[in-house]
Symmetry: C2
Subunit: 369 residues, 2 copies
């Protein structure tokens, strides 16, 4: 406050020379803090549109602050183990920022699931609108406040793929006995349908699939799935990703550290998050499009759509799984109510706007798979 | 450059006290320029998510710059007539920034159409990805450079509606002799189908429709159409908006003024544009959803879908209209090639990702119209 009053007085006392371009040349003495933060992530180094997104965030913040606010970024495992990212940020002793996915925190806060992905929930556009205009971001902040953490949407992968399989899925009976790597609520639904849900680190999925330790896996989408090489060891690539129709990653900041920033830097950090959110979302859209084509034309992947009756069964079970969690946790209940309310606002509009776009306005390309 | 070197030296000479939170408390003396800009828009005062978006941009920039970079915003007609916004920014003598739509510049740069909306072109998600990863923004900058203008995407209205009609559209023959207010390429297509295309300012559309000067009109989408009161004088509200599947508004800056900003302020201005772009896009998605429900339930509007054969005919004519423009102007040709190339990247991915989402994942709400 005192600094601001000083600045105002200084500004009043300045004799300004206004040019035609509207620039007042007299420099104001703007005493700004130098800040150095550390950011850790859950991502492997160089992971496209995820690890490099964290690095882009740091670059944007440094640029906007004229080099005064610097964030040093560490990939998963470089400073803390990947899945301890949130805890490190929550603690805030050496680390002030992180990048990951909110459903990693489902164990300590069941409501966390809703801010990343809900099976048959909102897609990316719906999630974005819910955060901003449906109270989603406020609820997300409320949920993380006890952990001394502030969240920001980090970008959307777009609808994911249903996964890689070595046998055709013709009814939900085909899931019985299937050993599949699928985390989160999607895994709960698959378990109810008789699948054996296997969880393993990203680095082990390929080998497990190759050796038959698992029969099937989901991962992200064409771009990242191609990098994992799953097409070498699985026959069928199924869509749509019913379990994650528009998952968002997150940036998290230590709340005490965030709130002790000058207001300018809080605003700069928020703006950089939105820039990176957009960059990541568009990067996934473009990269998935390019990789899908490569998978089909170069790697001869067989693209398959889950039959409608299978999707209907999955939807019914997903509804139960979501209901179960919301029934047990007051915060999850509150978040789910907000989420469902918002679906009723954007849902019918989607039927009138984007649905006909995808069905009759968008150019139809004959899928090669 | 000199200022930066000075800052670096100053930083090196500072004895810093690092706290646990990572904050270096010793203030750096950061001599920043005070900037005052004027921004004019093509929008009426208080127009939701458009005029207030320009005001939000100014607020964000001021906040991030610690009050040093101020933009005073004027609605259409307050400082210059609405459709002279671009020219005022291009001139740059009293005005440095503007907000409008690029197709208003189609008369002086035919390629401008592509950066706003192309009939049966990309939707909002596709446009965003094209700007960032398909070279779209670079081409947009190249197109405006001769006018000394720099563009930034300002936000997407979502797919528009086809418009308000007083008779049912059962085939393209129903367009013959129809007097319709529809600008741009959409109007060219309608004219080819025998409609009489009428152009009139926004303020006169309602009265013209009421008095039968026009038989039909398109405008934006449920939110803004509701505010215009068209439901009082037209029977049928048709979708989808084939002519504008994901139109973007634009921010424009005088290039000389932009480039004379300190790099921090250029970065801050860019980041604020992205924030407002997102805010506007999500605001339209939410506001259109709410207004659609009001129109149907409170104002008893009859919602109608253009029959598929009508859409197919419109698509064929739209292709010709787009081809005609691209054939006559080298820049339009170059932009169209980039646009079409990008459609082939995101198109097939949309078929696999968002199309099944809208068709089977989104909850089906029985449309009340």
């Amino acid at each position: 406050m005192e600094r601001r009053q000083f600045l105002q007085k200084a500004a009043i006392g300045t004799v300004a020379a206004v040019t035609a371009g509207g620039i007042v040349n007299a420099p104001a003495v703007h005493a700004q803090k130098k800040i150095k933060w550390k950011m850790v992530t859950t991502w492997p180094p160089k992971l496209p549109y995820l690890q490099d997104a964290a690095e882009l965030l740091a670059k944007k913040v440094e640029l906007m602050s004229g080099g005064l606010f610097k964030i040093k970024v560490f990939a998963g495992g470089e400073l803390v183990p990947p899945l301890q990212t949130f805890d490190a940020v929550s603690k805030g002793t050496t680390v002030q920022a992180g990048s990951g996915v909110s459903y990693y925190q489902a164990g300590k806060a069941p409501a966390a699931q809703w801010f990343a992905a809900v099976p048959f929930g909102l897609n990316g556009a719906g999630m974005s609108a819910w955060y901003e205009f449906g109270g989603g971001l406020k609820l997300w902040e409320e949920m993380y406040a006890p952990f001394d953490v502030i969240p920001r949407p980090g970008g959307c992968t777009g609808p994911q793929m249903a996964g890689w399989f070595n046998k055709k899925i013709e009814s939900v009976d085909d899931f019985k006995g299937l050993k599949m790597r699928i985390p989160g609520l999607g895994g709960k639904v698959m378990a109810k349908l008789g699948a054996t849900v296997v969880l393993c680190p990203a680095s082990e999925i390929f080998t497990n699939l190759e050796r038959g330790v698992i029969d099937a896996t989901e991962w992200i989408g064409p771009l990242h799935d191609k990098l994992m090489g799953f097409y070498k060891v699985a026959k069928y690539y199924y869509y749509p990703g019913w379990h994650e129709p528009g998952p968002f990653v997150e940036f998290v900041f230590n709340k005490t550290a965030y709130e002790s920033l000058p207001l300018e830097y809080q605003a700069i950090l928020d703006a950089a998050c939105t820039q990176v959110n957009n960059w990541t979302t568009q990067g996934f859209n473009t990269g998935n499009g390019q990789a899908l084509d490569e998978l089909i034309t170069q790697h001869k992947v067989t693209l398959m759509k889950l039959p409608d009756p299978v999707l209907a069964d999955l939807k019914s079970h997903a509804k139960d799984a979501v209901f179960d969690i919301a029934a047990k946790d007051p915060m999850a209940k509150k978040v789910n109510e907000s989420f469902e309310r918002f679906k009723k606002i954007v849902g019918p509009w989607g039927e009138v706007s984007e649905k006909p776009y995808y069905n009759s306005l968008a150019d139809k390309y004959k899928l090669k798979g």
